[in-house]
């Protein structure tokens, strides 16, 4: 029992559901299906609170992926999935099989995958282990996506000590399907045959789901045989064959075998369809000899699918698979009732009510407790920070922070042009792909800020939703759907559970306000090593619709002499900023405030401005604040510089936090004001550029939308010149700044 990760009270429940003692195989089924990874037993009560409906929702949570209507009879099918634990153990294969898994979720729905994004977290690149994991993960993401021919078009990468023992690898896949072409993972029609197709089943990955549901400790090394090797060629064959076979109409239900393998596919398809399923493991193609039913049912070998086929049309299905050199075999059939029966050469070896494994899995309302340190880390006293650096040296230093630097080193290894749909090159904005055969396009972004969530998980999660949606809007996309990946520590600790609960509450709140239904997601818990958890890290994926794919824009300035306009308010909020972390070594304060109605207004505004062709560039302000945002607008622009003068933000001294009148009076405080103006990370801000008559239209539209618009300067020259309150505080040649920013990660990775 212990070995199966089943708790005594859960065992009692199994006895009740079974009406008898389970045998070893049955216990194994419960073990994987009731694991955190498969059952969402700790998170389910919280996930239920998320908004999942909307006029565009074609498929909400519960299927292999979600889907939203994008017009023309089509829908966007997308989901995000994590492969954190496997990527720590074997970075290349862990990441590669993670990509393989999420691609299967998409084509299983009948959708052709057209884009991948990845959200990654690693420890500091100063550590050789972090560099090795980063190198392996990026190679693995590319290795799988490149071969199968799905472009990796965007993502985000954050480096922080907090992830050194628990890197995060979250991958989002987006596909397109006809709305009437969606196929579900449910068994239909008693008597219909159940087919298995794809790679043979081996002993790899047995209990992978259970492993992803436990903390790492010294004995993790012994669990290593759980590593799986990806076979992108097999997946390519499966993808093409499955998409082709689904067009015949002979496939009634289909599901991939991911976590918990055959156990999951058989019990979930049965319970979704309200029917039973009987299979004989003898028919399951096996890669190794002497495999037991236990091993066959629990194996997590990659690249395998289970299909329910309409009786009498088997040959149509097998013919397509044969064309692709795949051999589909019948392993069982759909039966009346609701039991999953497993036979071995005709002998019954397991007999379980399938809903006991799925819908009736335990649900925990685990105790939640705000961490004792929570209030303390939110205190931010300027007096405690020491002498602030000059704005120029802070600017120079921030350009060398890998989290801020260009991610070219990574996406240069990803094929992002295959498929001929990629409109925005990676690194330029949210990813934008066109939808062939229509005028439309889709913008996608993945975002999350673990530091903000550590300081305040509720607000941090709202900020993640806002940022992902704002990024999509900055590319001209109207946000229409979202997915989320919840990466947290051990849910059995009340503080972690509190973080999770607060984060989900924040996601729900922000999604409701911004009109973004959540159509699916993934939960990855136990991301901790020896009792130290990662920052709570919800990652949000948002999909936006461009009615006209040609009406999009990127962050880079397009011409000299354009006006530079800041949309939104510059509040100078330093809490949780990259500036504080890098230059003062502090993760503290309140994360930026977020007024959701203002956020909604600015997003609507920017989408309209781009649709009307009024702005030449648009860039969301995030890590590094306005200063880094402005610098990034000059990068990849062919050297178009910028000169701005920003109204100075006055930080209010907070004596309750220990700021003294002396601090306020001293020059200290004045430098902090300047730095807060430049590097504060307030939400709901966008920098745009516009020229001539368009500028007036931009200002007028902003006014009508109730969004503050300030002309802060002009493009031109070959320098980045930033003034605050009339005083020039940053003055750098673009060429120098861009070189440092573009090669930072390369340089770090050159070290051994």
């Amino acid at each position: 029992m212990e070995r199966h990760g089943i708790k005594p009270d859960e065992y009692e429940r199994i006895l009740e559901l079974m009406g008898r003692e389970p045998n070893l195989l049955e216990l194994g089924l419960f073990s994987v299906m009731w694991s955190e990874h498969c059952s969402y037993k700790s998170s389910r009560v919280h996930l239920k609170t998320l908004p999942t409906t909307g006029p565009r929702v074609v498929q909400g949570p519960g299927e292999n992926a979600g889907a939203v209507d994008i017009g023309n009879g089509l829908c966007a099918v997308f989901k995000i999935e994590s492969h954190n634990h496997p990527s720590f153990i074997e970075p290349y294969q862990g990441a590669a099989t993670g990509v393989g898994g999420i691609i299967r979720d998409i084509f299983t729905m009948g959708a052709r995958p057209i884009a991948l994004l990845n959200a990654l977290r690693f420890g500091s690149l100063d550590a050789p282990l972090a560099r090795r994991i980063f190198e392996g993960v990026v190679a693995g993401v590319g290795g799988y996506g490149n071969s199968i021919g799905i472009p990796t078009v965007g993502g985000e990468i954050v480096f922080d000590e907090m992830y050194s023992g628990n890197p995060l690898v979250n991958v989002l896949c987006l596909g397109i399907s006809r709305i009437d072409g969606i196929v579900k993972g449910a068994a239909k029609g008693a008597g219909n045959p159940v087919f298995y197709v794809g790679a043979k089943t081996g002993r790899d990955g047995i209990h992978g789901a259970t492993m992803a549901s436990a903390e790492f400790d010294e004995t993790s090394a012994e669990k290593r045989p759980a590593v799986q090797v990806g076979d992108p060629f097999m997946e390519k064959l499966l993808m093409e064959a499955c998409l082709e076979v689904m067009k015949t109409g002979a496939v009634l239900g289909i599901q991939d075998m991911g976590a918990a393998g055959l156990s999951c596919a058989t019990s979930e398809m049965g319970s979704r369809g309200g029917l039973g399923m009987t299979i004989d493991v003898m028919h399951v193609p096996q890669r190794e000899t002497g495999m037991t039913p236990y091993e066959i049912m629990l194996s997590e070998s990659q690249e395998r699918m289970l299909l329910v086929v309409e009786k009498g049309r088997e040959h149509e299905v097998t013919a397509v698979f044969e064309k692709w050199d795949l051999h589909a075999v019948q392993v069982g059939e759909v039966v009346e009732g609701s039991r999953l029966k497993i036979l071995e050469r005709g002998v019954l070896v397991a007999d379980v009510p399938n809903r006991a494994l799925t819908d009736e899995a335990p649900v925990y309302r685990r105790p939640m407790q705000e961490p004792s340190w929570q209030k303390a880390v939110q205190r931010l006293s300027l007096g405690d920070l020491g002498a602030p650096p000059s704005a120029q040296s802070a600017f120079d230093r921030l350009l060398t922070v890998p989290t801020i630097a260009s991610k070219r080193w990574a996406y240069g290894q990803y094929d992002h042009s295959v498929g001929t749909n990629t409109i925005a090159q990676p690194g330029m904005s949210a990813a934008v792909v066109r939808v062939k055969g229509t005028a439309t396009g889709l913008a996608v972004s993945v975002d999350g800020n673990g530091r903000f969530c550590y300081l305040d998980p509720y607000r941090g999660a709202m900020l993640a939703v806002a940022e992902a949606a704002r990024n999509v809007a900055c590319a001209g996309g109207e946000p229409i759907g979202g997915t989320n990946n919840l990466n947290f520590g051990n849910p059995e600790r009340p503080e972690i559970m509190w973080q999770l609960g607060e984060a989900v509450r924040g996601i729900g709140e922000a999604c409701r306000a911004l009109g973004i239904p959540i159509t699916g997601g993934n939960v990855s818990l136990y991301n901790e090593t020896e009792g130290r958890a990662i920052f709570p890290t919800p990652v949000l994926g948002v999909v936006g619709l461009l009615e006209d794919a040609t009406k999009t824009t990127t962050r880079a300035f397009k011409r000299a002499g354009a006006a530079v306009v800041l949309l939104g308010d510059n509040l100078g909020e330093l809490g949780g900023s990259e500036y504080l972390a890098t230059l003062h070594g502090k993760v503290a304060g309140q994360p930026p405030t977020l007024d959701l109605s203002r956020e909604a207004a600015i997003q609507k505004l920017i989408v309209k401005l781009i649709r009307d062709g009024l702005v030449e560039s648009a860039h969301d302000c995030s890590e590094g604040g306005l200063a880094l945002t402005l610098a990034e607008c000059t990068f990849d622009s062919g050297g178009i510089g910028v000169a701005v003068d920003l109204p100075e933000v006055r930080l209010k001294p907070d004596t309750t936090l220990g700021d003294t009148a002396a601090d306020v009076a001293s020059g200290f405080s004045r430098t902090f004001d300047v730095n807060a103006t430049l590097f504060g990370e307030s939400a709901s801000r966008i920098v745009v550029s516009a020229s001539g008559a368009q500028l007036e239209a931009v200002v007028a539209a902003a006014k009508a939308a109730g969004v503050m618009a300030t002309v802060i300067g002009q493009t031109g020259g070959d320098r980045i010149q930033l003034s605050v309150g009339g005083t020039r505080v940053v003055d750098t040649a673009i060429a120098d700044a861009e070189h440092v920013w573009a090669t930072c990660i390369e340089t770090q990775m050159g070290r051994r």
């Binding site: 290795g143 021919g149 295959v418």
Partner: protein, 234 residues
């Protein structure tokens, strides 16, 4: 005129080439399955990019045994224009339709970016519409594009003006700095001695619309149309 795009099971740029030929250039195009033995009366054959058979062994190593390759060989022997793009180029090398071989990129990693390429020869069916030394911006996306031939073969290729494309900078200058993969002599593409079979690592089919970053690759497909038209007119 009609393009045939060969589909190996692991091809992933087959539909891109098909789309460029049919939707962008507006010519007839057909997808031809690798187990077929007939090119459906095509005037031009494209071997597209991808990982024909997973290519875990060597790129293009298994594809050369596909039934369709006999038809492609016969077509090439008759002087028919054949274009191998990326993996298609690798298949042509393995099949012996072009000289040399590919090894891993010199910096090992997969390289994916838009690169400038200088057109060296305009007397092939795929460069006939190019200006001499014209620079084209096209994406590369490969892990094994490091062209190798033994010194004698290399000298012969150069002597017979078989180097059709070289990696260069935007001004058309060729130097190691603008070589993305370590290819000998900065070779990005070559042709056979008869000049009708051309292989290149960059992807012209992915560079046929400005919206996608470059339309420079269009001239390669347009060249095929032009040279066939002039053949027909002769």
């Amino acid at each position: 005129m009609k393009f045939a795009v060969v589909v190996f099971p692991g091809s992933n740029s087959d539909h891109d080439a098909f789309y460029a030929a049919s939707e962008v250039i507006g010519e007839d195009a057909a997808l031809v399955w690798h187990k077929d033995t007939d090119l459906q009366g095509a005037d031009v054959v494209i071997l597209p990019g991808g990982f024909a058979h997973g290519d875990y062994l060597r790129t293009g190593a298994i594809a050369r045994f596909s039934p369709i390759m006999s038809a492609v060989k016969a077509f090439a022997d008759r002087g028919g224009p054949v274009l191998g793009i990326c993996n298609g180029f690798q298949v042509l090398l393995e099949a012996g339709l072009l000289p040399g071989a590919m090894v891993r990129n010199d910096r090992i990693k997969f390289v994916s970016r838009l690169v400038p390429v200088r057109v060296e020869q305009t007397d092939t069916p795929f460069t006939a519409a190019c200006a001499s030394t014209q620079v084209l911006h096209m994406p590369v996306a490969h892990g094994e594009g490091n062209y190798y031939a033994d010194p004698d073969t290399l000298a012969e290729i150069e002597a017979h003006r078989q180097v059709v494309f070289r990696y260069s900078n935007a001004a058309g200058e060729v130097s190691p700095a603008s070589n993305p993969n370590g290819s000998l002599n900065s070779i990005a593409g070559i042709c056979n001695r008869q000049r009708n079979v051309v292989g290149l690592m960059p992807h012209p089919e992915r560079a046929t619309e400005a919206q996608l970053g470059s339309a420079d690759g269009r001239v390669i497909l347009a060249s095929a149309v032009k040279s066939l038209a002039s053949l027909a007119g002769r």
